[in-house]
Symmetry: C2
Subunit: 318 residues, 2 copies
């Protein structure tokens, strides 16, 4: 049982996470996570591992399970997000395991650091977001740099995991440099350490000062998108209601927009607009530049035979 | 209290989520989520809202709270991820609310759909990932398209929320088109409907057939990165151990690599390599093309005064 324990507070564990640990004969995990669930561990065999030994933790778990024991392999947050799920399946497959094996696997989902940290700072996620790890222990730097640049350009809210350590101090500087190619210097940034734990600490800063902030191994960095704002100590990314409703004037729908329907600049409206611009003489290249989309995508979209979609009656959607 | 109830199974709610609902006088939510927690609702005032009325839900919550009631506003998954947290803070601020107000706000984090769905299909996330909503009800299509293209190019694992509805049938087709510009046609895709609920359904397919699959409003689509594989009905994204360890030969560290340290192609090693290539005569433009990074970033990095970083003694890291 690969158990995501959430941020590390008993209140924020799921019923299944607690039950899985309670059912286990053996509990394996990085020492900090074992300590976080100490109250659940009486009478169990505890195997504490140190940080770099992810593969060892999975190998230990498999060995204990093959010996007929129930094993809880614990991760902070969610086991599937930079946690033990991937490494464990890699070790299982390497050993010749298949799902028909007597050893059965369950992954117990939990709230990841980005969810827990976000809950403490306001509503920074709200809309499209990414998680990127600045750890280059297993990933080449150019791969990480390309990802940072791509999501900064495409205006995602971004959560940086493993932002900095005693040895890795420059990656956060490079991340700031890449983000500043696309984002304003005053883009809100929140740095959350030890969410829902005793030494919880939250700092708000801006993109141009992110690399100078106090960031460590227990920190998650949240970088806002171009609409994110901080007000009264809360970081909020708008959902986009202002695109459809006049928020100042009692929430009336703007001209040309309709509740429960795509925006006038949603896919179908945009396709109409594109067709019209093209018919009016705009070249593929000009349209690509104007809409900041690849020329081959514009061309393929224009070439698509255009049929009115049958619209079923029924409720709108959020 | 903005409560994320997770995937919609009592087992997968946190203790705090259950406690918050139990403490509430009033419980507000979309009808489907209210039904998911029916067993907790005896004696409470229940306000059921339909799908497009997110702002109304927040306005109702504020009105009840101002009347002195404790209100639980529930979202599936995590309230901060395409949930009620953002809309609620927008409504609060619009009303003149500040954190000093008698009405206090708590966001209770939960596992989002991407975590729950991932737990059921294997370990698809593991590494850098993104969430993108295909709903264009509040977001212009070009914004969504740029995001899809950027993350496909930068090789993220991608979770598509709101992938398709009765009215929005073409967005998933466009998403597939954009992804195929960068990813192999056989990239693994998992479609999970109603995770941990009675009508749970999981389908594996590939990128080139994604748009033809049975996808609805209750589905989350997970698109693998270029290393994701499906084996024995499990979708797994490798963590990258093969970059450092010879997985075939008992896990020995590869030549030039070291456990607990950055890869030879991690930031510092890569910077050395870049300096050497430049000193050997490669132009900025050639380096930019070779490493697929912006030329101005390459130039700025080369211009940075290079000092050996003091490396503190101590443990490595994962």
């Amino acid at each position: 049982m690969l158990v995501g324990i959430g941020p590390g507070s008993v209140d924020h564990m799921t019923a299944r996470a607690r039950a899985a640990i309670a059912e286990a004969d053996v509990v394996i995990g990085y020492v900090t996570y074992i300590k976080l669930v100490a109250d659940l561990l009486d009478g169990k065999e505890i195997i504490r591992k140190s940080m770099t030994e992810e593969l060892d933790r999975a190998v230990s778990a498999l060995a204990s399970a093959r010996a007929g024991k129930k094993v809880a392999l614990i991760s902070s947050g969610d086991a599937g997000v930079y946690g033990m799920a991937g490494p464990t399946y890699e070790v299982l497959f390497q050993s010749g395991w298949t799902p028909d094996d007597p050893v059965q696997v369950e992954i117990v989902p939990g709230a990841s650091a980005l969810n827990s940290c976000a809950a403490l700072v306001g509503a920074p996620l709200t809309h499209d977001f990414c998680a990127i790890s600045l750890s280059d222990l297993l990933t080449p730097w150019p791969t990480i740099a390309r990802r940072l640049d791509a999501v900064a350009m495409a205006d995602f809210v971004v959560a940086l995991y493993n932002p900095k350590s005693g040895r890795r101090t420059r990656q956060i500087v490079e991340a700031q440099r890449l983000f500043l190619r696309h984002r304003r210097a005053d883009t809100p940034v929140a740095i959350v350490k030890s969410a829902y734990r005793r030494r919880e600490n939250i700092v708000f800063t801006t993109l141009d000062r992110m690399a100078d902030a106090d960031i460590g191994m227990l920190s998650t960095v949240l970088i806002g998108n171009s609409n994110t704002f901080v007000r009264d100590g809360l970081m909020v990314t708008p959902r986009g209601y202002a695109n459809k409703y006049d928020m100042e004037e009692g929430g009336a729908t703007r001209a040309g927009e309709k509740a429960g329907r795509s925006l006038s600049t949603g896919l179908l409206g945009w396709l109409d607009q594109l067709q019209a611009e093209h018919a009016a003489g705009a070249t593929i290249e000009a349209l690509a530049a104007r809409h900041r989309l690849p020329a081959d995508y514009i061309a393929a979209t224009l070439a698509e035979p255009w049929e009115d979609e049958a619209v079923p009656a029924g409720e709108g959607e959020a």
